[in-house]
């Protein structure tokens, strides 16, 4: 550890919220255009945040190196986002505004996000759409040629822009193409199949990274004037998640171990509409866009253990539990609420399907009302995907869905300038904690990734570079050598154990512990138990894992082994954080803290803060960033 005192200063400018970003930009120092190419910026990750940042920084004239573990930057997991991207364009005059998007996001996040950051996100949302349209992103259009919108994720205005069910793909390809243009111009050097395995801090500043070439196994050092992490979330700690198989926490976790505080690790989002688990071999869960909830009705049998097929259960013996409990929002309640209710009915023995872990999402009313054609036009690709996986036809029988881990709101702590507690280390997109509080609203992850990458980071990195005098150094510095040696040592250790269990077998067990005790609902006693179990399993991992092959070529088992080692440590911190947060808010539901009718009970008096954890091998240390709400008054969320 650095041994320095940590000041959690969010550096939010003073003034009226709508002026803050303008003011901050004006106050920033600029880097002389002629000097930009002398500054190297390392961007790790090439999803929406990383690719848009690398492309923009390259275009501004910096010398950029961009790294991704996939074979091409176009494969980053942003590509799998389906539903859409929000922007406060108010194209429909339905009452939307920057302030309303800001308000919805702060409220949706259950008052655990930083107001200034969220306001800026809402402001920038409109620029993102314009930027992406100019790039040729094929957004859906109305017959008159204007951009089409839909309402999404419980929003009461139509502010979601989309490209069929592949919005993430199209936005990512836009950013990827912009990135490749810079690669062609020689301003960005791309390092695919390269994984960051350590952060190098010199004199308190982030100065570089150590990577492993995943094809040759070579360990390499890269030096820069700033390091940007856009490496995504850590949902795969649960093993079964909607994340891509390669998504991992290694970059942010190793930066955390070098001194970057980790904020709100227990804030994880569970998405209500995924295809249920079907067997032990299952490697991931598939998300169905929550736009399905616009027309599908969610129900379970009224009686427990009712094994009849759905079409034989008469209307009177069905429980449309969301419509019953939340008459005004019905099936469109936010993700956390919908997920928790699904778990509750399954816990009562009313779940459906072979495993009893599922609820019905039924389109028969919508098909009757609108016709199968209209439903096919809206959801055809999703119905097809469902049928491909389950071999069941949702036009004939209701879909079965169950919640799954989808997104992590927690991440490395950053200030208003997206800089972590290590000067020169910036964190963008899902990898940081900043904008979604305790729960993320639909269609806002893409918005945040692109807002950070295109429109915020390129300014704030420049400000840091202009204001900071960095000592001359190179990759032969002792700090680089030490970090490289550490990476080699870890690799050697993993390959030398040759135990009796595979990495995946351990990962599955870890995932089950975290899901059972730190998933949709949590208790103090359960979390304490989980911490013990995680420690036990972790020590077994280091005794008994079997990582075959060598360090000198493509070794996918070795890649996984390093990532799972980090998931073990992060899982423990998640439980510690969940234990510490004695309230229920957003995705964090502590059973001890609920209202008499079973809704999440926040405690604004004691818990209105960001928990930011400092790494400690034995025990992490908690730092708090207090949150104040001047524009959106905290209220109990009600969707009744």
């Amino acid at each position: 550890m650095s041994g320095r005192a940590i000041h959690l200063d969010a550096r939010v400018p003073l003034g009226p919220i709508e002026k803050l970003w303008d003011q901050a930009r004006f106050e920033m120092k600029l880097v002389n255009p002629a000097n930009k190419r002398k500054h190297t910026i390392l961007v790790v990750g090439s999803g929406l945040a990383g690719a848009s940042a690398a492309a923009t920084l390259g275009e501004l004239g910096y010398n950029v190196k961009c790294f991704c573990f996939q074979d091409s930057p176009r494969r980053a997991h942003s590509i799998a986002a389906q539903g859409g991207i929000n922007a406060a364009k108010n194209y429909h005059s339905d009452g939307d505004s920057v302030f309303r998007l800001f308000y919805d996001t702060v409220k949706g996040g259950d008052f655990r996000s930083r107001e200034a950051n969220v306001y800026r996100l809402a402001q920038i949302s409109v620029n993102i759409i314009d930027q992406c349209v100019a790039q040729g992103v094929p957004f859906a259009r109305e017959y008159g040629g204007t951009l089409a919108n839909r309402s999404f994720g419980g929003a009461q205005v139509s502010r979601t822009f989309y490209a069929r069910g592949q919005t993430g793909q199209q936005l990512l390809l836009g950013a990827y193409q912009a990135l490749e243009r810079q690669v062609h111009e020689g301003r960005v050097q791309m390092f695919p199949r390269t994984e960051m395995l350590d952060l190098v801090v010199i004199d308190g500043h982030a100065r570089g990274i150590v990577t492993r070439n995943l094809v040759t196994g070579q360990i390499e050092s890269h030096m820069g004037d700033a390091v940007v992490l856009g490496t995504g979330g850590y949902g795969n700690v649960y093993y079964l998640a909607t994340n891509a198989k390669g998504s991992n926490c290694t970059a942010i976790w190793r930066a955390h171990k070098r001194g970057a505080l980790f904020a709100n690790p227990c804030f994880t989002q569970i998405h209500p509409t995924c295809i249920p688990v079907s067997g032990d071999y299952q490697s991931k869960l598939t998300l169905m866009s929550e736009s399905l909830r616009n027309d599908g009705r969610i129900w379970v049998p009224l009686k427990a253990h009712d094994r009849r097929p759905p079409n034989q259960i008469p209307e009177a013996e069905r429980d449309y539990y969301l419509e019953r409990r939340y008459p005004s929002f019905g099936n469109l309640v936010p993700r956390d609420v919908a997920s928790r209710n699904a778990k509750a009915v399954c816990d009562e023995g009313r779940g459906v399907g072979e495993t009893g872990l599922g609820v019905y999402l039924d389109f028969s009313d919508a098909i009757q009302r609108l016709g199968a054609d209209v439903i096919a036009e809206r959801y055809g690709n999703l119905f097809e995907m469902y049928q491909r996986i389950t071999d069941e036809d949702p036009y004939q029988a209701p879909m079965r869905i169950y919640p799954a881990i989808h997104y992590t709101m927690g991440g490395l702590w950053v200030d208003y300038y997206l800089m972590s507690t290590i000067p020169g280390l910036f964190v963008i997109g899902e990898a940081n904690f900043s904008d979604h509080g305790a729960n993320r609203l639909g269609a806002s992850a893409l918005m945040q990734g692109l807002s950070d990458g295109y429109f915020i980071l390129p300014y704030t990195v420049g400000d840091y570079i202009a204001k900071t005098k960095l000592e001359k150094t190179d990759t032969s510095a002792a700090e680089f050598r030490t970090a490289e040696a550490g990476v080699r040592e870890l690799t050697k250790k993993l390959l030398s154990i040759r135990g009796h269990q595979t990495v995946d077998a351990f990962h599955r067990q870890l995932g089950k512990i975290v899901w059972d005790y730190c998933g949709m609902s949590r208790t103090g006693a359960g979390l304490n138990e989980a911490i013990g179990k995680i420690r036990e399993l972790r020590s077994e991992y280091w005794r008994d894992v079997n990582v075959p092959g060598s360090a000198d070529d493509l070794n996918q088992s070795l890649e996984k082994a390093g990532r799972v080692a980090d998931f073990f440590e992060l899982a423990e911190l998640m439980c510690i954080d969940a234990l510490n947060r004695e309230e229920s808010c957003g995705g964090h539901f502590r059973e001890e803290y609920q209202t008499p009718d079973g809704e999440a009970q926040r405690s604004d008096e004691t818990c209105a803060y960001v928990s930011a954890w400092e790494y400690g091998a034995e025990r992490p240390e908690l730092h708090r960033e207090p949150l104040s709400f001047e524009y959106v008054h905290p209220s109990q969320r009600s969707y009744k």
């Binding site: 848009s52 923009t56 074979d71 590509i79 930027q131 259009r141 199209q170 912009a178 243009r181 493509l554």
Partner: protein, 248 residues
């Protein structure tokens, strides 16, 4: 169910490869092809052997990482489906599956079923974009796009860059991949200023990478998991020829 797998094993780019036989018992028909390989690999690791290397990431058919030949067909027998979503119920009990990497000069094998598709990135880098800086472009609705054109552009833009088109083509041509990007951008008003130059640059790059020429066989369209139409190749040719004349 039980399946016999004949899998291409190759230690590295320079090493010789060969088919190796594996038996998979107790196959669950709901498993995906990749989950079957996971199970085989778990067994290999516990026996002290190296698992089969194969590329994968999202496992929901959108990232384009996965793909290999199954019995000579790119992504296997099911139309419009990548191997990550191909479930075992489409095979017969006891069936023998020959699994091989994409084969093309421009896609050298890295290990087992993993090939290097970097050539695709270089084709995009040569011109597969609209050259617009990050900044303050005009309001999105100042550029009107007829719905039909937006839909057709989206059809082409759905390409996931998996490489099945190249693997399926007897000439190992990248025409469908290149044409898809040219058609996507060429169908939109934003793509017009650079339309001809884009075709010229991208086609030149695709030739330089060692892909073969298109001879209108149509295997690519049949293999494409996103059902990209051959029409994109016609658009590519039109733009390319237009640009070639323009040069004179």
């Amino acid at each position: 169910m039980r399946l016999i797998l004949q899998v291409w094993r190759q230690k590295g780019a320079k090493a010789p490869g060969k088919m190796t036989r594996y038996e998979a018992a107790d196959v669950n028909p709901d498993m995906s092809m990749l989950e079957l390989l996971d199970v085989v690999n778990e067994g290999l690791i516990l026996k002290g052997e190296e698992p089969i290397a194969f590329e994968h990431d999202c496992r929901e058919g959108i990232c384009g990482s996965c793909g290999f030949m199954i019995n000579g067909v790119a992504h296997g027998p099911l139309p419009a489906t990548t191997v990550c979503q191909l479930s075992m119920r489409h095979f017969k009990d006891g069936q023998e599956l020959y699994i091989e990497p994409w084969r093309a000069r421009a896609f050298p094998v890295i290990k087992d079923l993993v090939v290097d598709r970097g050539a695709f990135d270089r084709i995009i880098a040569a011109g597969g974009y609209v050259s617009v800086p990050t900044g303050s472009p005009p309001d999105g609705n100042t550029i009107l796009v007829p719905k039909e054109n937006a839909d057709r552009a989206m059809d082409a833009a759905a390409c996931i860059g998996c490489g099945a088109c190249v693997a399926a083509c007897p000439n190992a041509s990248a025409a469908l991949f290149t044409g898809a990007k040219i058609a996507h951008l060429g169908l939109l008003p934003q793509g017009q200023p650079e339309r001809n130059q884009r075709a010229l640059k991208m086609v030149r790059q695709f030739n330089a990478e060692g892909f073969g020429s298109c001879s209108n066989i149509g295997e690519c369209e049949a293999a494409c998991p996103k059902e990209i139409s051959l029409e994109v190749i016609a658009r590519m040719n039109r733009d390319f020829i237009g640009a070639s004349f323009e040069k004179r």
